[in-house]
């Protein structure tokens, strides 16, 4: 990749010749065949199948909750993931997952380099998909370059229209699938076509169609090089034992054209065929060494190996290897892979801890929760017989998909609990609707003789005896100073 705007040999330039914008060379990645390309096709197929397929899986949660296996219910402020369900206040679980994902990415990167970028990143997967369609319609590298140079014609227009229409279609499918994670899939898909889906749904589909088209069709490698922050700080995770796509200069140099039958003595194995450059989706020359734009996809490895087959030399002039091994090989020593390092062990440990934390939070999650707000205006009421009364608002959270029946008690000696709406009952049973928050007003009445003049801390305890759940929330009983 080159950002040069002038020839490097030039020493001066006229002010008027400084361009308004930089001219970046367009990349025309060439088709390549080989085991790494096959692996990339497989990964792409699996990831796209997951993306488009997952919202259709059903999971029975009973009559009061959605039956979609993975669903983020934004209006209901709930997220469902198989057996698990989280509420907005449990978003720390998602935070934990994100931390685990980030550390997991660091771990993989320290170990295997930017394989995420080369294989699994949506930018790579969708760009690959868009390039595949482009190749079907406009042909391979040489034909595309030729088509670009050709003057306007009906044939060119037809190819261009077919390509962009296909891209927009894929974009719509992408945006269309995204909303399935936030809506009941079998309901929202027909609604999309009948015009019954909400504005937010159509806006999301339109926006993601546009961004998919823009990112995978137009911006492509520029996203990785100029927009992605991860590309910028990946070097922090790299060391000499990190696996990278690399050219072996000791073996390859001195490079030069080679005719069949010529001797390989006194020269390198690189025949300067430029296949590694032509297949590169980011348009770099890997022979210049490890560089920021390399997404570690390894297509140049396939390209070079196929050339090595043709000229009868062993594979691996360009290969997944480590900086240490290149040095060892150059010095004629045996290469060694060193996966267990302080860096990888550290990342592995933090990743494991984060995942354990998330798992614990999910498993230990109580389906019943409560919070209490003591009245502050006024903090207490004097009743006609001299008794004191405090008022509280209790928020009872039924975080399960079934109705719950709970009772409220207070461990305040002498205190009597009165639930508004159930004044006549002793220890009334309160029904909590599934997946809902109920706010109840509770009064605690304390005989005048039991008041000592100092505030008394106590707990409200909420029991669901049928399910054996209890939650205690601390609060305080206030009264006048004596």
């Amino acid at each position: 990749m080159s950002m040069t705007m002038t020839q490097r040999t030039q020493t001066t330039i006229d002010e008027a010749d400084i361009p308004v914008w930089s001219h970046r060379p367009k990349v025309y990645p060439k088709k390549v065949k080989g085991p790494i390309r096959n692996l990339k096709w497989l990964v792409m197929a699996v990831l796209l199948a997951i993306y488009w397929g997952v919202p259709w899986f059903r999971f029975d949660r009973g009559p009061f909750a959605p039956d979609q296996a993975i669903l983020i219910d934004l209006p209901g402020r709930k997220a469902y993931f198989l057996w698990f369900e989280i509420w907005p206040q449990e978003v720390y679980i998602v935070t934990g997952l994100l931390i685990a994902a980030a550390i997991g990415l660091f771990f993989i990167t320290a170990m295997l380099g930017r394989v995420w970028c080369g294989y699994a990143c949506p930018q790579t997967v969708w760009t690959d998909l868009f390039m595949m369609v482009e190749r079907w319609i406009e042909g391979d590298r040489a034909q595309r370059m030729k088509l670009d140079r050709q003057p306007f014609s009906v044939r060119k227009l037809g190819k261009r229209a077919a390509k962009h229409a296909s891209w927009v279609f894929i974009g719509m499918m992408t945006g269309g699938a995204w909303i399935l994670y936030f809506n009941d899939a079998p309901t929202v898909v027909p609604d999309l076509f009948t015009g019954d889906a909400g504005t937010a749904v159509y806006a999301t589909v339109a926006f993601l169609t546009f961004t998919t088209y823009l990112m995978a069709g137009v911006a492509r490698e520029n996203v990785c090089t100029f927009m992605c922050p991860y590309a910028r700080f990946q070097s922090a995770m790299f060391d000499k034992d990190t696996m990278v796509v690399t050219y072996h200069p000791a073996r390859g140099e001195k490079r030069g054209k080679h005719k069949a039958g010529e001797s390989w003595d006194g020269r390198g194995h690189c025949i300067d065929c430029r296949q590694c450059v032509e297949v590169c989706p980011t348009g770099i020359d890997i022979r210049e060494g490890l560089q920021m734009s390399c997404i570690s996809c390894g297509l140049c490895v396939d390209a070079c190996n196929s050339i090595m087959d043709r000229v009868g030399l062993p594979h691996g002039l360009i290969a997944y290897d480590t900086e240490r091994n290149i040095e060892l090989k150059a010095a004629g020593e045996k290469p060694r892979w060193n996966f267990l390092r302080l860096r990888t062990l550290g990342y592995g440990l933090v990743f494991g801890l984060a995942m354990l934390g998330v798992l614990y939070a999910l498993v230990a999650r109580q389906p019943l929760d409560a919070s209490v707000l003591a009245d502050r205006n006024p903090i207490f009421v004097r009743l006609s017989n001299g008794d004191l009364r405090n008022g509280y608002t209790l928020k009872l959270l039924n975080k399960s998909t079934q109705p719950q029946h709970v009772q409220v008690t207070a461990d305040l000696a002498g205190g009597e609990v009165i639930v508004l709406g159930h004044e006549e009952e002793v220890q009334p049973t309160i029904e909590l609707a599934p997946d809902a928050v109920a706010a109840i007003r509770v009064f605690v009445r304390l005989p005048a003789n039991d008041w000592t003049g100092t505030p008394r801390d106590f707990d409200f305890t909420i029991h669901d005896t049928a399910r054996g759940l209890t939650v205690a929330v601390p609060t305080r009983f206030e009264g006048p100073a004596r």
Binding site: M3, T4, M5, T6, Q7, R8, Q10, T11, T12, I13, D14, E15, A16, I18, P19, V20, W21, S22, H23, R24, A219, N222, F226, D375, N377, P378, V381, R382, L383, S384, N385, G386, R389, G391, L420, G421, A438, A439, R441, F443, A448
Partner: protein
């Protein structure tokens, strides 16, 4: 470009170096990417389009309104209308049901209490306090002591017609005579009555003989409204005197003042100011504050 200057080219990056240098340090004239320049231009055009379509430029006493006629006020009005429409089914139900039926429906009672709380803050909090705990001369609505009664129907009557309201013939009327000022009782009799009244709520009188004399004065002059032994008489609006709650304070001096030259609070009649549904919400809210009967 008026003059054609020659720029040095940086050998590493290939970018031109701006001729202005500082201590030999120059700045590269690296051009921005094309998409960036184009986005910049599009943003400018977008801004111009925005000025035309939306309210943008102020003048001395107004502003350009824009072709789309957009206004945040109109948007608020729309949202308020939408909120009203969303409340309509609840309000209709509320108007049709009795208080007991509302109380039996958790969703509806939450709605009624929320509405009542807002109305209370707007109309009642000025005298009764934002927490409804009252003040000297303004009844506390949280406790279990009521001048006129704390069940739904009584509360509704009190709110609709007020207390000693001059505009409403059906208003609640209760006037305590100025026993001292108008010469009905002597100073000594008033003092005796104070001693007796204090004893009703459990204070041991300093002078038991005075309290005993006060009992007779009370029976002759006060019991008609305040009930026998100060138990209160709601039909007359006569406050209970044998409990821990006092409207005009419960110390001897305050009670003496109240007997000598009583004060009387006034509550407006709200029937003409608030619609029946608003009053219904207020009744429901006040009833829920802890003293509801």
């Amino acid at each position: 470009m008026s003059e054609k200057r020659k720029y040095e080219v940086d050998p590493v990056t290939g970018s031109a170096i701006h001729p202005y240098t500082w201590d030999g340090i120059g700045e590269l004239e690296t051009p921005p990417p094309r998409w960036w320049v184009l986005t910049y231009a599009v943003c400018f055009l977008f801004a111009v389009g925005w000025w035309i379509a939306f309210p943008a430029w102020p003048y001395i006493s107004g502003y350009t309104t824009g072709l789309l006629g957009y206004s945040t006020r109109a948007e608020v009005a729309e949202e308020l209308a939408a909120a009203k429409a969303a409340q309509a089914p609840y309000n209709n139900k509320l108007a049709a049901l009795s208080y007991a039926e509302i109380a039996a429906d958790p969703e509806l009672s939450t709605f009624a209490m929320a509405g009542g709380k807002a109305l209370f803050g707007e109309n009642c909090a000025q005298c009764h306090g934002s927490g409804a705990n009252g003040n000297v001369g303004y009844p506390n609505l949280l406790d279990d002591d009521w001048l006129w009664g704390g069940d739904y129907e009584t509360l509704q009557t009190t709110i609709e017609h007020g207390v000693r309201s001059t505009n409403d013939e059906e208003t609640r009327q209760a006037m305590m005579p100025a026993f001292g000022k108008d010469g009905i009782l002597t100073r000594e009799q008033v003092d005796d009555t104070v001693a007796y009244v204090l004893s009703l709520s459990g204070t041991v009188p300093a002078d038991p003989a005075a309290a005993e004399r006060g009992a007779q004065v009370f029976a002759d002059n006060c019991a008609a409204c305040h009930g026998d032994a100060g138990a209160g008489l709601r039909e007359m609006g006569g406050p209970r005197l044998d409990d821990a709650i006092w409207l005009y304070n419960g110390d001897a001096k305050s009670i003496s003042n109240q007997i000598w030259n009583p004060r009387h609070g006034v509550m407006p009649d709200w029937a003409g100011r608030l619609d029946p549904l608003a009053i219904k919400k207020l009744v429901f809210y006040v009833h829920s504050l802890g003293g509801g009967e």
